[in-house]
Amino acid sequence: MVPLLLGITLVSFVVIHLAPGEPTDLQTQLNPEISAELQQRLRAQYDLDRPLLVQYGKWLGRLVRLDFGDSFSQDRRPVTAKIAERLPITILINVLSISLILAVAVPVGILAAVRRNSPFDRLTTLLVFIGFATPSFWLALLLMDLLGVRYGLLPVVGLKSLGYDYLSFPGRVLDILRHLVLPVFVSAFGGLAGFSRYMRANMLEVIRQDYILTARAKGLTERRVIGHHALRNALLPVITILGLSVPGLIGGSVIFETIFAIPGMGKLFYDGVMMRDYPLIMGILVIGAILTLIGNLLADLGYALADPRIRRG
């Protein structure tokens, strides 16, 4: 865990520092009025005149105290504060889309496996391939066009309507929920295809096992064999895959948050990239990787909880 964390910070640091140009370029080279002396002072302020190893050490030292430095943007606020106000939105959307993925993909995968080669199975296989190949930003565009612009059913920009502050509490909740429908659906779309395919493969694997044959031989109903004996075993690997899918979901948040103008961490990162806001980029890179680690850890814990063989082993 600790070496992994250290490695994450090292890679983040190297990635940014291997790139040509300096983080202060945007403020110095593009600003004709800046003097050589001020340029020097700026470099000193960010330790850019020190050896790389010293820079890394100092950065790491502040990192341990959760201090990512101040953002280069106009407001000059601490990066930690900027991330903290954006992170909950991104996590909320990702949790919602994981729930949606599970709620749809698990039953679909099971049904496709139980009725293998049926029309339903063929149809979902086709849909899965199309789902895999659909670029999420294009899907977002089409849905915005269709549901938002053409029929005006759903809002397509931001998290809140203009009159949000005048709404009652239930009205506010409803307003945010309506804004979340499209982003959650778009971010879940790719995962839907992947998970139902995966669930189907697991179920096919489990149905072949001897204990399923035993359960059937005992005269249990098909419903109980599938829903009880098979399902629990087929669900186990899904927990691991859930953990592994965290980086993909977080990375994808850049795309849909930018398109739907949602003030989450992905949008913050995109804006930071556009502004070359270097402390912010480094901060989010590290946070993103740590979130992935947490996801993996939760998956391991969940696996141990769900599987008595591991719990007692």
Binding site: F137, L141, G252, V254, F269
Partner: protein
């Protein structure tokens, strides 16, 4: 000499008599192969098939699809069909080069880790674990932020952030292959490590590499189009499916063809590579079939 030629014969008969007939029978894979081939041919022959994709004629801006312009014209009166075919050249180029880079890095690191084991394996695989912790899109964006957005940089970045899967795969193959008798035989005959790794073991790991490369092209094309759509990939006026969709977004609700066709082009191409890749996997090892 004799042994080698028998081996060669066994190999070619596998591809000709087992692999190819199995692939032929798989309708989904054949559909994928057709898509992949026609896209490649259309992109290659684009200069002979369509108008100049950069030709601007503002009197013809935002024309709906017609006989003269089968997929319509964009906001500057440029032919959308021409831009899609030329954009295909960019997408395929990025896809292939990026996958080439990723496969090379992944193969070399995976082979070293699997063949030497011990601390070499430990160091390389920890590095893989670390790289896998980063949401890849974050890593790509962070690097793009400090580079000029050009297609060469995009290819390099997608390749440099996408080799981890290949490394794991090649390592796993090497772990099982290095214990086999033919490796022992090669070593007894005095072959050096480099020769054993690249000439004896690696060719046996070719099939899983082929599958991952085919699927990888699809992934690289998707990533490139997303980057270009966000304005940090292929830069206008060079046409790419991703940056054509920027105009599609601006004309949302008024010119549907500008958002529909470039997206369809991405979908079809990615679908083709995925179908073909899965088909190759099934044909190589029918036991894996889902």
């Amino acid at each position: 000499m004799n042994i080698i030629s028998t081996q060669e014969k066994a190999k070619s008969s596998f591809w000709r008599h087992l692999f190819w007939p199995r692939l032929r029978r798989n309708r989904m894979a054949m559909a994928g192969a057709c898509i992949v081939l026609s896209m490649a041919i259309l992109a290659l022959l684009a200069p002979f098939l369509v108008r100049d994709p950069g030709h601007i004629d503002v009197t013809l801006r935002l024309q709906a699809p017609s006989l003269r312009y089968p997929l319509g014209t964009d906001d500057l009166g440029r032919d959308v069909l021409a831009r899609i075919l030329y954009g295909g050249r960019i997408s395929l180029l990025v896809g292939f080069v990026a996958v080439g880079i990723a496969s090379t890095i992944g193969t070399v690191l995976g082979a070293l880790a699997g063949y030497y084991g011990r601390w070499v394996d430990g160091v390389i695989m920890r590095f893989v674990d670390i790289m896998l912790c980063f949401p890849s899109f974050f890593l790509i964006l962070a690097v793009v932020a400090f580079l000029e957005p050009s297609i060469w940089n995009i290819m390099a970045i997608i390749g440099l952030t996408g080799w981890m899967g290949v490394a794991r795969l090649v390592r796993a193959e090497f772990l099982s292959l290095r214990e086999r008798d033919f490796v022992l035989a090669a070593r007894a005959a005095g072959a050096r490590d480099r020769r054993i790794i690249f000439l004896h073991i690696l060719p046996n790991a070719f099939s899983p590499l082929l599958v991952s490369a085919t699927l990888g092209v699809a992934g690289a094309i998707l990533t490139e189009s997303a980057l270009s759509f966000l304005g940090i990939g292929v830069q206008p006026p060079t046409p790419s499916w991703g940056n054509m969709l920027i105009v599609g977004k601006q004309t949302l609700g008024s010119a549907w063809w500008l958002s529909a066709f470039p997206g369809l082009a991405i979908l079809l191409t990615v679908l083709g590579y995925n179908l073909l890749g899965e088909g190759i996997r099934d044909a190589l090892d029918p036991r894996l079939r889902g």
